[in-house]
């Protein structure tokens, strides 16, 4: 008896929808095992982690706050990954975007009018895009590996933030705490729906819907999908791989930068030495769990946001280390990628002997 992977003739639509669900189920199972071997009741653990955050208004609002940047960044990353550009540096683009966006209220605190916030958001998007264009240009000009360069720039961005907050951008009236000044009202993202969520949430949903339409219905979306699946066919179609690399990195960077600006101007209201609990990295999982589809990413963003809130929940209620959230996120990515195999392959249990090694060769 052995297990075989048999290639399907076409992609399975059912599996494309089912594979994230299977992945979440397997992750929950693994989490339960983790809880039990650390001496906790697995059912209570799972409840506290995945369910309880959804039962209370404050935790639901917190989940939306966390999901918003994840979804926005994840949508941009999906465009990159669909077109075969492996942008791992969204965390850095998020930070640099935040820096660009905050430059206005920090350096010109007296510039307070209706244009303040839109300008901040614009600068934030530009900053993120510029930071993302560095690995893109290196890739198109010198053929460097964008996975490495984009990742390394995350740490450069982090140090830049650290330097600015502790140095030139420190609040002059802040008793030497490493914080910028608090933003004025004109520079603060307003809340909507009676304070239930920040304006960033509806903006994110609009962006995701627009991207979903672009991907599914337009020639640009077609170009992105073709390039990801078959670059040779893409160049036969007349699409330029280099231009698309620049485009997708710039778009992903702009969205990450926008998310960064909205985070500091909304949730934090000032610049701190650390402004992200790893949104840029978690968004990679969000993008894949959402099947690189903006609508799927909205759902996936909520699932991953839950893991942040749930991690805090199990820590305070059960004394399990907060790090369990990172472990569960990692497991989730692992299972998502593994389950994706099922979209193009099916599993067959067989008692027969077959030489798969050379079967593929023939």
């Amino acid at each position: 008896m052995r297990i075989e992977l048999v290639k399907r003739k076409e992609h399975s639509q059912t599996m494309a929808l089912l594979s994230p669900v299977i992945a979440v189920a397997l992750t929950a199972l693994s989490a339960a095992i983790l809880f039990s071997i650390t001496g906790h009741n697995p059912f209570v653990g799972l409840y506290k982690f995945f369910i309880e955050p959804l039962t209370q208004q404050w935790s639901l609002e917190a989940t939306i706050d966390k999901a918003t940047p994840l979804i926005l960044i994840g949508c941009g990353l999906a465009i990159c990954y669909l077109s075969n550009n492996w942008n791992i540096g969204a965390e850095g683009q998020f930070v640099v975007g935040a820096l660009f966006g905050c430059a206005l209220p920090i350096l010109y605190p007296d510039f307070e009018n209706v244009a303040t916030l839109p300008l901040m958001l614009l600068f934030g998007a530009i900053g993120g895009a510029l930071w993302a264009l560095i690995p893109a240009l290196l890739k198109t000009r010198f053929n460097t590996n964008e996975i490495l360069t984009s990742l390394m720039l995350v740490y450069v961005a982090g140090l830049l933030l650290d330097y600015l907050v502790r140095g030139p951008w420190r609040d002059p009236d802040g008793y030497n705490f490493p914080e910028s000044r608090i933003f004025s009202d004109a520079a603060t993202l307003p809340e909507v729906f009676g304070g239930a969520m920040s304006l960033s949430a509806p903006i994110t949903i609009v962006v995701a819907v627009i991207l979903a339409i672009v991907l599914a219905k337009t020639l640009k979306g077609f170009e992105i999908r073709v390039m990801g699946e078959s670059p040779r066919a893409g160049s036969f179609a007349g699409f330029s791989a280099k231009r698309l690399t620049l485009f997708s990195f710039a778009l992903a960077g702009a969205l990450a930068g926008l998310a960064g600006t909205m985070e500091v101007s909304g949730a934090l209201n000032q610049l701190l030495p650390s402004i992200s609990p790893g949104y840029g990295f978690t968004a990679i999982i969000v993008a894949f769990l959402g099947r690189l589809n903006p609508i799927g990413i909205i759902i996936a963003g909520f699932v991953l946001a839950l893991s942040y809130i749930g991690g805090e929940g199990v820590q305070s209620a059960m004394g399990v280390s907060n790090e369990i959230a990172s472990v569960i996120q990692g497991l989730l990515l692992f299972f998502v990628l593994a389950c994706d195999t099922l979209i193009l392959y099916r599993i067959r249990f067989t008692s027969r002997r077959i030489a798969d090694g050379e079967a593929s060769h023939v």
Binding site: K9, L219, F222, S230, R232, A233, A355, E358, H361
Partner: protein, 531 residues
């Protein structure tokens, strides 16, 4: 085919072996009732096959007839759902290729599995269970390859070798294991006529020594020439067995497709030659990678109303020439001209808008995106050519779907359900689709690389006729092909490409296979250097 060599040097082999009665010979492999099912498709249905010792046995059939499935069961890479295989009268179960090789069954694949950066002896050592010392192996390779008339230098790097020699490596690799049955899948598709003759000598010698050969080919003339017996598969069943020497190519073809194959006719009327549509002037381009071929000062004028064919053995610059004409590789503006407009530096979409169309050699992954639906694959090459497929940046799925249906009907593309992913079509059907997608536009200039490579006889005839019809309707057609039968069937003028040099095109009526063979073997190069 250029048969003078083999027929004059080996008359006794032809005479003695072919005329023998099959039943007198010793049975080597006897397959009874082999059945293999893939999902809904019955790939092999109760197939019986007997291969005798010392027999060159042809396995004929259209694409999708079940030939590959059958030989994979012999080679152990597929297991039959039902049926039995007897090897020298012993019932055997061939579980994997290693046990097939232990029995004495070897296989030479259509697509080579060689590492280009390694040398000959290293490549062979990788495939042997016990390669032993490299120096000993190198000596064995030299001896065996010389004995069988396939001389190899063990120290040559594969990347430097032409395709014909690469195939020798595969064959010698097989011979080193002293097989009693060699399965060959389309071995001559990559060879010049002269190289093919050399291979036939080797096969006849092997047969004379008692080794059996199971020979898969689409080239009926060569099957007629060298095979002793033929089994014909259609839709997974054995429909006929015959002695190919007693048949004609046309009768073999009609057995394969189950009906008379429409013969391709160039029409009695002389082609009405018009203006120059495509001109290449001193087209040169360096090799982009160590494994690519440089193009050297290629000039050609392609006129409205004619089919010009470029013959040549694979890997002599055909792909690079195609890329330069299509615009996937950019060159100096004057080097490529469409209707007198310099466009060497323009992109492929610009050239398509000039009413040029292109069909590349590789169907999946170049001409079509494997995981995308056929309607999406229509958008792939026609988004810029004003078929109302794109409006305001939005792709119209309705228009694309309508085009897909039109092409499917006009070119008889068969599919299990409407608008499937490209990867699920068989090679012949996908080729009909890829060619049909371009012909549907009625392009003024059509460039096709290997129009019927690996395509069954019925589909090939349909495609060739469509190419001729396009030219007769006033378009210019350039066909790059390795198939000489095809070239002589459809071309008005023939040029030969060799190591990146192109010979002057000559009228097809004045060309012979021998002359084409000489040009392939380097004559084109000499001509190019003189010119």
């Amino acid at each position: 085919m250029g048969d003078s060599v083999a027929e004059t040097t080996l008359p006794e082999v032809d005479e003695t072996v072919q005329r023998q009665d099959r039943s007198e010979k010793e049975t080597l492999l006897n397959a009874k009732g082999l059945t293999k099912r893939f999902g809904d498709i019955l790939a092999n249905d109760n197939v019986d096959l007997v291969i005798n010792k010392g027999e060159i046995h042809a396995l004929l059939g259209e694409n999708g007839a079940g030939k590959s499935t059958l030989v994979k069961m012999f080679y152990g890479s597929l297991e039959p759902d039902a049926g039995e295989i007897f090897w020298q009268n012993q019932k055997v179960t061939i579980g994997n290729p290693a046990s097939a090789r232990e029995l004495g069954i070897g296989m030479v694949f259509q697509h080579f599995s060689l590492f280009e950066a390694l040398n000959v002896v290293e490549n062979i050592a990788l495939a042997l269970p016990n390669p032993g010392k490299m120096s000993d192996l190198a000596k064995r390779i030299e001896t065996v390859s010389r004995d069988y008339g396939l001389p190899l230098n063990p120290d040559d790097i594969v990347a430097d070798l032409p395709v014909g020699i690469r195939q020798r490596i595969e064959i010698v690799r097989c011979l080193l294991q002293e097989p009693q049955l060699i399965i060959m899948d389309e071995p001559t598709s990559v060879l010049t006529p002269q190289e093919a003759d050399q291979l036939f000598l080797t096969l006849q010698r092997l047969a004379a020594e008692g080794c059996a050969v199971l020979y898969i080919s689409h080239r009926l003339e060569e099957v007629k020439r060298i095979c002793h017996h033929a089994t014909i598969l259609r839709h997974g069943e054995v429909v006929r067995e015959c002695d190919p020497t007693l048949e004609t190519a046309a009768s073999l073809a009609s057995m394969m497709v189950g009906a008379d194959v429409a013969s391709v006719s160039a029409g009695d009327t002389k082609p009405d030659i018009g203006e120059t549509r495509l001109a290449l002037q001193g087209l040169s381009a360096g090799a982009a990678t160590p494994f690519a071929t440089a193009l050297n000062d290629i000039s050609l004028e392609l006129k409205a109303g004619e089919v010009v064919a470029i013959a040549g053995v694979a890997g002599n610059g055909q792909g690079e020439l195609f890329d330069a004409i299509s615009g996937e590789m950019r060159v100096a503006p004057q080097m490529v001209q469409l209707d007198g407009k310099p466009c060497g530096s323009k992109n492929i979409t610009w050239r398509r808008k000039q009413n040029a169309a292109f069909v590349p050699e590789e169907r999946l992954g170049h001409g079509a995106v494997p995981g995308m639906k056929l309607s999406d694959n229509i958008v792939l090459t026609r988004h810029g050519t004003g078929d109302r497929l794109v409006g305001g940046g939005f792709v119209s799925n309705v228009e694309a779907g309508a085009l897909e249906k039109r092409i499917k009907q006009a070119f008889d593309v068969r599919m299990s359900h409407d608008d499937p992913e490209a990867r699920s079509l068989s090679g012949g059907n996908l080729q009909k689709f890829v060619v049909g997608r371009e012909l549907d536009r009625k392009p003024g200039v059509l460039i096709v690389n290997q129009p019927t490579w690996g395509v069954d006889a019925g589909a090939a005839a349909l495609i060739r006729q469509a190419l001729i019809d396009l030219a007769r309707s006033g378009s210019a057609v350039l066909v790059i092909s390795q198939d000489l039968d095809e070239i002589f069937e459809i071309a008005d003028r023939i040029a030969v490409i060799s190591r990146g040099y192109l010979s002057d095109p000559e009228p097809a009526a004045a060309m012979t296979r021998e002359r084409v063979g000489l040009l392939m073997a380097g004559g084109a190069e000499a001509q190019g250097e003189v010119a």
